[in-house]
């Protein structure tokens, strides 16, 4: 049976340097998968391809059997930086992709869900980094995508805000049955949020290793941090990126 989100990259290069080669990944519907690996191993490039922002590659991406050939309403992306439009209010940012008929009531509800009640009329410059990233997550959820891609979305926020945002993402994704592909450098984050952790190799090629996280929801952070998978992932990470 083919995967709900099927990613098959034969080759992707930046100039003469191959970034991805022979990489295949399939995600089940509603599954949360984390991609880990050192900087430069192609994680963000992979997300750009799936989001339809990069079409200069050999291979194919299918969603529910349908080829994705460019940006698609069923695929949302939250970037590492919030990338809010500074001249628009927070609510206008959330509904940015709505076209001519924005549903501001729904935007307000989403802002409430991410803990930004009453911030709809504020400008992005009035938000903290964590608040801006929450607004970006609300924007990512507004069009109700079936797949949400996240590129190190919590790397720039403090530890406490990061935990809150992780819980928020886990809740939103589980409630909606979202299929999530998360790029992260944080092994604890990957273990806490994911059903599977994929370790990418430093050299272009197939995934180096794959770890199934069988813990039920809701999860306990402390338990996940002590998971026996963590040393196994760290060992593989060291082996994959040994200098």
């Amino acid at each position: 049976m083919s995967a709900f989100l099927d990613i098959a990259i034969n080759e992707k290069s930046h100039g003469a340097r191959a970034v991805l080669r022979g990489f295949h990944l399939g995600l089940r519907q509603g599954e949360i998968v984390s991609l880990v690996g050192a900087s430069g191993c192609g994680k963000s490039t992979l997300l750009s391809i799936v989001a339809g922002l990069d079409s200069a590659y050999r291979g194919a991406v299918h969603l529910d059997g349908r080829p994705l050939t460019g940006p698609d309403a069923d695929v949302g992306l939250v970037f590492q930086a919030p990338r809010l439009f500074p001249w628009l209010s927070v609510a206008q940012n959330v509904v940015f992709g709505a076209g001519t008929q924005p549903d501001l009531v729904r935007a307000d509800a989403l802002l409430g869900e991410v803990g930004l009640q009453g911030y709809g009329a504020a400008l992005p410059k009035q938000l903290s980094g964590g608040q801006a990233q929450r607004a970006a997550i609300a924007r990512g959820l507004y069009l109700e995508p079936r797949v949400l891609l996240l590129d190190e979305p919590f790397s720039a926020v403090d530890a406490f805000t990061r935990m809150r945002l992780q819980d928020l993402l886990a809740q939103a994704a589980r409630q909606r049955g979202l299929t999530v592909l998360l790029v992260t450098h944080d092994i604890d984050e990957a273990l806490y949020l994911s059903d599977r952790v994929i370790l990418m190799d430093s050299m272009p090629g197939p995934a180096r290793a794959e770890f199934a996280v069988d813990a039920p929801w809701p999860r306990e952070r402390r338990e996940m941090a002590g998971s026996p998978l963590k040393p196994a992932i760290l060992d593989s990470l060291h082996a994959a990126h040994a200098i």
Binding site: R83, F85, W87
Partner: protein, 273 residues
């Protein structure tokens, strides 16, 4: 153990300074210069026929007020308004086209960069030959002056837009037109407004160049008239008026900037100590 509060004295240098009430600080230098000139001339340090004292310039302004000053100011202002509007209205779409389209850039930009290097006065004889001594050559010269700063501002502004923002636009499948309208132009607005301010400032300069050569009215004409009649007071009165009008128009542009760019989260001198 009992806790003790630690009180840290704010250093003198970090405390907000008290501002002097009353006149804006920007008037300090002109006021000092006027007082210095008045004293210098009255004390005989500077010949009055070369540098009339401010009181004499005021008298000249008062005399001009009763002898058609409004007509001169009105003529110059209308020329600047017409020339600036023409130059800016041409530069805005052309700048956007060049910034958004590589082929248009290859066609237009080298020529514009060459034309930009031509000094304003070099155009004057040619424009007089082509359009006579009527209003047309003056307005065209001012339009040329205003065109290039606005054009440069639009091109630099659009080219400088954060790629991250355009990616968000592409992610939401905006058409090229919608991307330009909803992302590129608002993001480029700070640079465009700077271009418009510079364009307006150059429009005043080009206006003087145009009126110095062929005009029977206007502030540039007053300068020529003052030179021909050896009236330094009239020349200085015209210069003062040019400074005041330039400042008023620039302040209007600044007000527009503050209104349209209220969303910016950038460094201002208010942040500086």
């Amino acid at each position: 153990m009992e806790r003790q509060a630690i009180i840290i004295e704010t250093p003198q240098s970090l405390r907000p300074r008290r501002r002097l009430p009353g006149l804006p600080l920007g008037l300090l230098l002109p006021t000092l210069a006027l007082i210095g000139a008045e004293i210098g001339v009255r004390a005989g340090l500077v010949p009055a026929n070369l540098l009339p004292p401010p009181s004499a310039i005021l008298e000249a302004l008062s005399w001009l007020l009763e002898n058609g000053l409004a007509g001169h100011v009105g003529a110059s202002t209308l020329r600047v308004a017409a020339g600036f509007a023409a130059g800016a209205l041409l530069a805005l779409p052309l700048g956007a086209l060049v910034a958004l389209n590589r082929r248009a850039e290859a066609v237009f930009d080298p020529t514009f960069q060459a034309l930009r290097a031509i000094p304003s006065l070099a155009w004057v004889p040619l424009l007089l030959l082509w359009f006579g001594i009527d209003e047309a050559p003056k307005i065209i010269l001012i339009a040329i002056g205003a065109f290039f700063p606005v054009y440069m501002g639009v091109v630099a502004g659009i080219r400088g837009v954060d790629r991250g923002l355009t990616e968000v636009g592409l992610l939401y499948r905006l058409s090229p037109f919608a991307l330009a309208r909803r992302v590129l132009l608002p993001a480029a607005l700070p640079s465009i407004l700077t271009g418009l301010r510079n364009g307006l400032s150059l429009a005043w300069m080009f206006m003087v160049a145009a009126e110095l050569i062929a005009a029977s009215r206007g502030l540039g004409y007053l300068l020529t008239d003052g030179r021909e009649s050896s009236r330094a007071d009239i020349m200085l009165a015209a210069i003062v008026l040019l400074a005041v009008l330039g400042k008023i128009s620039d302040s209007a542009m600044q007000a527009l900037e503050r209104r349209w760019l209220a969303w910016r989260d950038s460094y201002t001198t208010k942040d500086a100590r």
